[in-house]
Structure formats: C-alpha cells, structure tokens
C-alpha cells in the first residue's frame, strides 16, 4: 500500500502599516492601512481569496464529493481565520463542510503564526491554546497533530508536543538530518513517548509548490504521468509520501493559467485509480504502522530557503532586536489586562514581520523582496520600531 499525506498551510498575517514616528502617542492604529495602501490587509486578503482560496476550496470540495477516499489536512492560523471572518466568511463555511465530511483534519499551531517557542514558552503555550479554542469553536474539532510556525522544529519542541499529548508532529525531511534515510516512513522523535514524526518529502512537494511553472526547470512542464513516475521512484524506499505546502500554491504562487488546478484534479484521479493507493490525514498517517526509527534534530530545522533554518527570520540585528524587544514587553502588556492592547501586541509577534526585515537575499531582489509588503527591510524595521514606541507609550499611560 502506498499513501499520500497531503497537507496545506493557510495563513495571512495582519500587516502593520507605515506607522510614522509622528503617530506615536497620538494614534494607535497600527494595522488598518488605507484601502489602496500597500499594507491594506482587506484588499490583499480579498485578492488572494479570489485567486486562490475560493477556487481551490471549491475544487477540494468537488474532489471530496467525487472521491470519498480523498483526504487532506489543513493548518489555519488565527490571523487568517480572523480576517476571513471579517471579509470572506464563506471560506470558513467551506472548510467546515470539509471537516464535517470527515475528509479534512485541522492541524494545531500558534494562533498568531509566531516564533514564540524560541522566545517565551508561556506565550507559546498561550498562543497554542488560543488557537485550539478557536478551532474548536469554529469546527468543533481538537487538533491531534502539531506543526510549528514555518515548520520550525527541534528535539525540545517534540518533547513539548509529546508531553501535551499530541499524536504527531510535522517537520521538514531535510537530507542533512535524515542522513540517507528516506522521509517516506513514519518516525519517532528522540526522547519521546508515543509522539510520531511526519517528514515532508521536499523534492516531491517543491515540484508542485515551487517548480511547477518554472520554465527553466528540466522537468517543465510537469505532467501527471511524469509526477506519478517521480512518486513511484521515491516510493521504492517507504510508502508514506508527505506532500506539505502552502495553500496559496494553488492560484497565488502558481497562477491559474499555469494549469495548476487541472494538474491537481488529474493527479488525484490518477493516483486513486491505481490499486492500493490512498490518501491519509496527518493523524491517520501516525497510525499506519510502527515507526521505523528515531530521528534527532538538536538544531532547529525549518522549511524555508536552501539553509532550512531560521535565518530568514532571525539573521540580522534588526530582526533580532525587533523580536527581543517585542517579547520583552509581554509581562507588562499582559499585566494591563487591556484586551485591545494585548491583541495589538500579539499581532506583532507574527513571524511575517521579522521576515520582512530580512536582508539576506534582499540585494538580489529574490523571493523575499517579492513577498514583502514594504519597500525595503529597513523600512519594515523602522515602522515596527515606531509601533514598539507607541506600545511603550500606552504602557506608560496605564
């Protein structure tokens, strides 16, 4: 038996606007940029909803109706759900329908898509709990499997998840960690009880997520028979294929005219037409058999960039100081009990903010620059620091 564990991550940050130092102390509106402003969350959300969320969710629902054996897993951040509730509530209904059909499983994570695990474990626990509560409220389910922001994973995170009673946890199947072992098996994290480890097959995942429309790729254009062959080659060593990617792969990163939607439906059809092939959700994947071995990742591994580390978020001094300063305010902020202030502060823990301050590849104008809502990493930092000043001002006024 060969099975695919298909998992999509849905997230949008609440972007802060170009908050001027002259606003500090006068105006604490950090997040609502004017409608045509570069950081207007509503406009961006609605645009992506049209290009990706609606067409892909519709397609997924159709596929589920047509193929009762088709299943997937979704991780959905609190910041995405809040925005969907405000501007495109139908999206949440569509996801709920999939969950009720028993063909979609929701994965646990931090509400604010933050790196809190690396800064403040109490805040991390709070954000995971807040996310869990929201998921239960909206979908009437409790996450069984955990993924951390950007798939940032290490041994101590696994120990945490084991203690919390999760069935499984997701991580990148990075060669340097696997040391010639295949990602296509179920593993057990080191020093853990029952917790299982699911490793992303990044080659097969990235064929779709990154390379699908790349005309310079030797395997372009990617056809279903070609992709089936890639899977068959991979599945010679292990029969659990973990395809993990961003939801926005479908329609936003790969536009409709690349043929990505058609590829998806054709692939599901082709996969299920072969004898003994199946789809599983993440918690089902944790139960398909016994783990084949233990994996240890003492250093943090993520699913980003060629380095697969946290350097896209935390490599330069601007990023580090922004994160350090925001987490340093936690105690004082929570002590106020002011819900608006606490929420504003938490929205600033989202990892997209330090990502926008990344200078690593900035000069080459690559993917980091493409995805940024700000003109430069320096500006992103500047506005963030102005907001911190205002938070401090508000604290002094309490």
């Amino acid at each position: 038996m060969r099975t695919i564990c298909f998992y999509l991550h849905i997230h949008q940050p609440v972007r802060y606007r170009e908050y001027s130092v002259f606003n500090v102390g006068n105006d604490s509106n950090y997040f609502n940029d004017s409608y045509h402003g570069r950081q207007n969350n509503e406009r961006i959300f609605k645009r992506i909803a049209k290009k990706s969320y609606y067409p892909m969710l519709e397609l997924l629902l159709e596929t589920m109706e047509k193929y009762p054996n088709f299943k997937l897993s979704l991780s959905i951040t609190g910041t995405w759900l809040e925005q969907a509730k405000k501007w495109e509530p139908k999206l949440i209904d569509m996801i709920r329908e999939m969950v009720e059909m028993g063909q979609a499983e929701i994965v646990g994570e931090t509400y604010y898509h933050s790196l809190a695990f690396f800064y403040n474990i109490d805040e991390f626990n709070d954000q995971v709990r807040l996310h869990e509560e929201l998921i239960e409220k909206l979908f009437n389910v409790r996450p069984q499997v955990f993924r951390n922001t950007e798939l940032a994973y290490n041994d101590s995170l696994a120990e945490w998840a084991d203690e919390k009673g999760y069935k499984g946890i997701l991580a990148e199947g990075w060669d340097k960690v696997l040391d010639n072992q295949s990602p296509n098996h179920l593993y057990q994290p080191v020093n853990c009880g029952d917790l299982k480890l699911l490793l992303k097959n990044y080659r097969l995942s990235d064929d779709i997520a990154f390379r699908f429309s790349d005309k310079k790729w030797k395997d372009w254009p990617l056809t279903v028979p070609k992709y089936m062959k890639f899977i068959n080659d991979e599945a010679k060593d292990g029969n659990l294929i973990n395809l993990f990617m961003d939801f926005e792969t479908f329609g936003e990163h790969q536009w409709k005219d690349t043929g990505i939607f058609k590829f998806f439906t054709d692939f599901v059809k082709a996969w299920l037409s072969e004898y003994d092939n199946s789809f599983v959700t993440v918690s089902e994947a944790c139960e398909i058999g016994r783990p084949v071995g233990e994996i240890s990742m003492p250093e943090t591994v993520t699913w980003a960039d060629s380095e697969r580390d946290l350097s896209a978020w935390l490599s330069n001094s601007m990023q580090k100081s922004a994160e350090e300063q925001i987490y340093a305010l936690r105690g004082q902020i929570l002590d106020t009990g002011d819900r608006r202030l606490i929420n504003d502060w938490r929205l600033l823990t989202t990892s997209d903010h330090p990502y926008a301050m990344c200078t690593k590849y900035w000069n080459d104008g690559d993917v980091h620059a493409y995805f940024s809502a700000y003109s430069s990493p320096y500006e992103a930092f500047l506005y963030f620091m102005n907001i911190i000043r205002d938070l401090e001002y508000r604290l002094s006024e309490v």
Binding site: S20, F22, S321, W362, N363, M385, N386
Partner: protein
C-alpha cells in the same frame, strides 16, 4: 567623443563620468579623440587625445559667467562688444572645430555628452554619415526641477535625440523622461549606469580632525550629522529637506543638518531655515570639494539625496564610500541600483523625517544600513560601463545606413 569638461576643470559629475568612461573604453581597446570647448592641461589623460576646440580659458566654457539654464536666453542675444561671449558663441566655435576634426580623423562613431555637444554631433552625422550616440547625463527637465526650463535647450535636446542612432541614459528614471517628455521610442534608449570615480576610490585619503572641528565636537556631544551635497537649485529638492528637518528637530534636537554646496537658491534656503526657526541646527559650508568634502562625508552619519529629479546621483556613491547611511529619493537614478538604503518620494517630508529620526535614534538600523551599503556601492564598475558602450557602438556601426 564630444564633451564639455574634464577634471579638474569640472563643475559637477559630467566631467568625472566622461573621464572614467573614456579611460575604461581605452582599456577595452577603443581609440578616442576627446573634444573640449576650452584649452587647458589635464593630468592622467594619456590614454586618449584631448583636443581643444578653442583657445578659451576653461572658466569661459559656459560663456561669460556661470551657466544657469534659466538665464541662457539673455546670453544668446548677440552683442557688439567683442569681449562678451555667450555659451552659444562657444558652441559655434566648438561645432566648427568638430567639423574639421571629423574630416581629419574619420571616426567610426561619435559619442556626444549632453545637449551642449549635440549640435556638433548632428552636423557630423549629417555631413559625413557617422553614427551618433547621444548620451544623456541630465535633461533640461532635470536641471529645471521638472519645470519647463529653457525652450532653446529643449529644442536642441529634442533634435539631438531624434537624430541620434542610439541614446544612452544614465538611469531608468532618465530613460523614462526621454520617452515621456521627448517622445523617443523606448527601444532606442539603453540604460548605462555610472560608477564611482576610480581615482576617488584609489587615491589616498585620511580624515583629519582639524577640517571641521565644530562638527566633530557636536558629534562627540552625541549629535547625529545629516548631510547633503550638491548645487543649490530647485532640482535638488532642498526646500523639502529643510521642512523635513523642522519636523525632525521638533522630536529630537540633537541632530545637525549640513548643507554642502552653493547656487541660485542659497538665499532662499537661509531665509527658510531662519523662518522655520531651525537655523541653529543647520550648517552651510558653501561650495567645498576635494578633501574638505570628503571630511564632511566622513563625519556624517547620514547622507540625504533629496533631489526632485536626479538622473544618476554620484554623490550618493561617494557618501557610501565613506560609510554613510543613505536616504535617497525614489526620483534619483542611483536609487535604482542601491538596495541598502532608505527611500522616499521627494515631496514626502514626513516620511523623510521619519527615516532621519529612525537612523538617528536606532543604532541597529544605522549599522545595518552602513554595513550593507559597503558591499553594494561598487557593484557596477567602469569596465562594465565601457563594455555596454562598446556594444551600443557596434550595433550602430553595423546598422549604419540602414
């Protein structure tokens, strides 16, 4: 090559760019005759033949008195007095000489820099069918701060751009202006960015504390030094910078603004600083060059290029060389190739104020900008410039007569 000045007889970036470009071209094997409108000795020009078109002293190359575009018309009016020469007179002499030169040397291609030399270039093209490359370092729109400027200069620019086989613009910004204001098709225009003066990078320079003692003392007292360098004309957007300074100082008065330069807006700027009540934090150095200028760059923490329209903006690269954090308008050509800088639109005084305050008050931001610019500012070399020019030459020579 037709130019109007070479260092040390230069008033701005044009002469520096011409010299570096010619030197790099000769390294690539080009033989260059460089025609100037005046007669003078130049050092370090052995690699080419420098030809004086007149016996005039260099100081008369823009006519009798400094050349300012808005007042050119008056000087064009012919005068009976023999001792009065206008820039048009100089250009006439220049044309005549170029004509003789072309007949003698039979160049394969003529590379003409800015409107000053365009008429001579066009004549040669008409009479001898030699391909003409028009190189735009600045248009009249730039010089006039995007106002109309002088109609005669526009006409000469327009004619030259039309007649040219190919146009080289120093930035995408300039390319856009040539397309939008002079209606030249985009495919006729190539962008070739400038680089930092080679002798600037190679020459020995040591910062001396004596030059600007007062500034150094302020710095020791914790002041942030923000400087700008350039001619005081509308083009440079200095009024906006002054208004931004007012905003900055309302939040933090430990910031000193240094305006290095001189020009027609001098008195207006002094009055503005006084009217805004910030004259205490504004220093005018007037026109400085050489070591004095480099000492200002060295002392500064931040360099602002506030231009309303800046075809390239060499001073930003000089400031970067001395380790300043850069703040550039989006309307400057140099901002197209520099990523490690803060940017703003020239009219956005509040954003500029924000950026100055952020760099002044946040060491981390300042250090990141200063460190990262070091790896960036010399990414374009004059050899790359020469290669691109040669490509343009070869294309035009090949298509000659078609």
């Amino acid at each position: 090559m037709l130019g109007w000045e070479l260092p040390p007889h230069n008033s701005g970036g044009l002469g520096v760019a011409c010299l570096n470009m010619a030197r790099a071209l000769s390294r690539e094997g080009a033989e260059i005759e460089f025609v100037l409108p005046y007669e003078a000795k130049h050092k370090n020009t052995d690699f080419m033949q420098v030809l004086p078109a007149t016996h005039l002293d260099p100081i008369y190359r823009y006519g009798n008195g400094a050349y300012e575009s808005m007042s050119l018309n008056e000087k064009v009016i012919p005068t009976d007095k023999n001792d009065m020469i206008s820039i048009r007179d100089v250009q006439k002499g220049y044309c005549k000489f170029v004509d003789e030169c072309v007949e003698e040397f039979k160049p394969e291609v003529i590379h003409a820099h800015d409107w000053l030399t365009f008429e001579a270039g066009m004549e040669a093209k008409k009479r001898y069918n030699i391909p003409l490359i028009a190189h735009i370092h600045a248009t009249e729109y730039d010089r006039a701060g995007m106002h109309a400027g002088n109609p005669l200069i526009h006409e000469i620019e327009y004619e030259g751009l039309m007649m040219a086989d190919k146009i080289i613009a120093v930035s995408e910004t300039t390319k856009r202006i040539i397309h939008e204001k002079y209606h030249i098709p985009l495919r006729k225009i190539e962008v070739v960015y400038n680089s930092l003066d080679e002798s600037y990078e190679n020459s020995k320079y040591h910062f001396t504390e004596q030059t600007h003692k007062y500034l150094l003392k302020l710095k020791d007292e914790g002041y942030t030094i923000v400087s700008t360098v350039g001619r005081f004309t509308v083009q440079k957007g200095l009024k906006n910078l002054m208004h931004a300074a007012k905003k900055v100082l309302s939040k933090n008065d430990k910031i000193m603004f240094v305006f290095a330069g001189d020009g027609e807006e001098r008195n207006k700027l002094i009055k503005l600083a006084a009217d805004l009540g910030i004259i205490k934090n504004v220093i005018f150095t007037w026109f400085i060059r050489g070591k004095k200028l480099r000492d200002v760059y060295s002392l500064s923490d931040v360099f602002v290029m506030s231009s309303v329209s800046e075809p390239f903006g060499l001073t930003a690269l000089e400031a970067a060389h001395h380790g300043d954090a850069l703040i550039l308008t989006n309307q400057s050509g140099v901002s197209e190739i520099i990523q490690s800088a803060l940017k703003y639109d020239f009219w956005d005084e509040e954003k500029l104020a924000n950026e100055i305050l952020a760099v002044a008050e946040n060491k981390i931001l300042k250090n990141e900008l200063q460190e990262n610019i070091k790896n960036e500012y010399h990414r374009i070399s004059w050899d790359q410039v020469a290669e691109k020019c040669l490509k343009v030459y070869n294309k035009t020579v090949k298509h000659k007569g078609i």
